[in-house]
Point group: none
DNA sequence: AAAATATTTTAGATTTGCCTAAAATATTTT
DNA sequence: AAAATATTTTAGGCAAATCTAAAATATTTT
């Protein structure tokens, strides 16, 4: 069963899905996410509306239809399964997998993805801790406790990162933080919302607001 | 290193390469292979000439330059490695792998392909028995296929033995293997490179590395 | 070596996805 | 509630890859 959608269409649908989840969906944000211009996004929105993937009318808010959301979940599934494969089987660093999976996610065979899923043993989360939708399109919610919200002296593990930005992943690598890393908040500074955090069993280091709000943790 | 070529350009280069090998290269044949029209092929030939991938001038014969051939071998390498992956790891039937690999071959990361190659243990032939170019672009002639290199579930006939050692022939007799015997690899064990092989129509038996590397086969 | 036939190229459109600039509409500020 | 500002859409173009129809060139037949 060949996918009926172009790569550009799939990229828009996926971006709309993510922005919708974060609650920041607009023509401007959309074009920014896709590195195009707002006018280009409008062109595509019309096409997606024609294909009944979104509801849209001029100057109004728009959103995915049920059909559009199903497609989005399918694309997210492909993307995250390939990320898992790249990380787990080919031993790519977790800051490299996103860019490659962006390309692989558009390979259109359903059967391929289902076989890949089975081969990988039906993983539930990708290398960034994001949940992988199953073949039926069901996806668990991601846990929501951020490092920034963690109580003082409560040991926890990193279970996800909130963004795939290369710069963030680079920083994490620098601090030797990855999925499963144990962290513990030692001190909090209201001035700039930075905090002192103990990583693994090393001496505590200073982490900024942007970073601590991007790390999802789970209490041990 | 991002690929500098579009999917259409890569498809043309690959098709030119194959037609050139078969000795039937012409604008008409090319467009036929790509399911386009001759006029479209001419348009693309001009572009490929500008990019110095082929030599071409109006109404003359054309062919790949060294640069073009290097690119073609690289694309063939990607295609056949993915075919091998699909067949060996995901257990696709060998008649399904080609179409999917047509899409996967355009994913542009060099590093991905080299890691895939290593993960697959540097296979020398794809599931159809076609040779896979190595990272340097060297490709063996299609021939000399050993039982050890035979794809899973591909029926073949023994056509030669690589040695005349009495011990070897004795072993062959024991297993009831001779020239013309039909064999089919059912499972491969990376641990000691042994494999389970179905001989004629009997139940599969276990054969060691030394033996499977001494038997030359030909796909049926 | 002409004539007939076949192949290839040119010329001019079409579609997709993108752009810039200007117009239309929403939102925010005063 | 106007005015100012910001966002979104329309209008008109461009490049890539395709097409059809016609012209140019090669090849084959007589």
């Amino acid at each position: 069963m060949q996918s009926k959608y172009t790569i550009a269409e799939e990229n828009y649908i996926k971006a709309i899905f993510h922005l919708q989840e974060e609650g920041g969906l607009s023509t401007g944000k959309l074009s920014e996410a896709l590195k195009t211009k707002p006018a280009s996004a409008t062109d595509m929105l019309k096409k997606l509306k024609d294909k009944k993937l979104i509801s849209w009318s001029p100057y109004k808010k728009f959103k995915l239809t049920v059909k559009g959301k199903t497609l989005a979940l399918n694309i997210v599934r492909r993307h995250r399964l390939w990320e898992y494969f790249l990380s787990e089987k080919l031993h790519f660093d977790w800051d490299e997998v996103h860019a490659i999976a962006e390309e692989m996610e558009h390979v259109s065979s359903e059967k391929l993805i289902d076989k890949l899923d089975a081969y990988l043993n039906f993983p539930r989360v990708d290398p960034h801790g994001d949940p992988i939708p199953d073949a039926m399109g069901n996806m668990q919610q991601r846990a929501q406790l951020r490092l920034a919200d963690l109580p003082i002296n409560a040991p926890a593990n990193i279970i996800a990162v909130a963004s795939q930005e290369l710069q963030l992943l680079e920083l994490l690598k620098h601090f030797d933080i990855s999925l499963g890393t144990r962290v513990e908040v030692k001190k909090r500074f209201d001035f700039d919302e930075s905090m002192e955090v103990k990583i693994k069993n090393k001496t505590a280091i200073q982490l900024g607001e942007a970073l601590t709000k991007s790390l999802i943790v789970k209490l041990i």
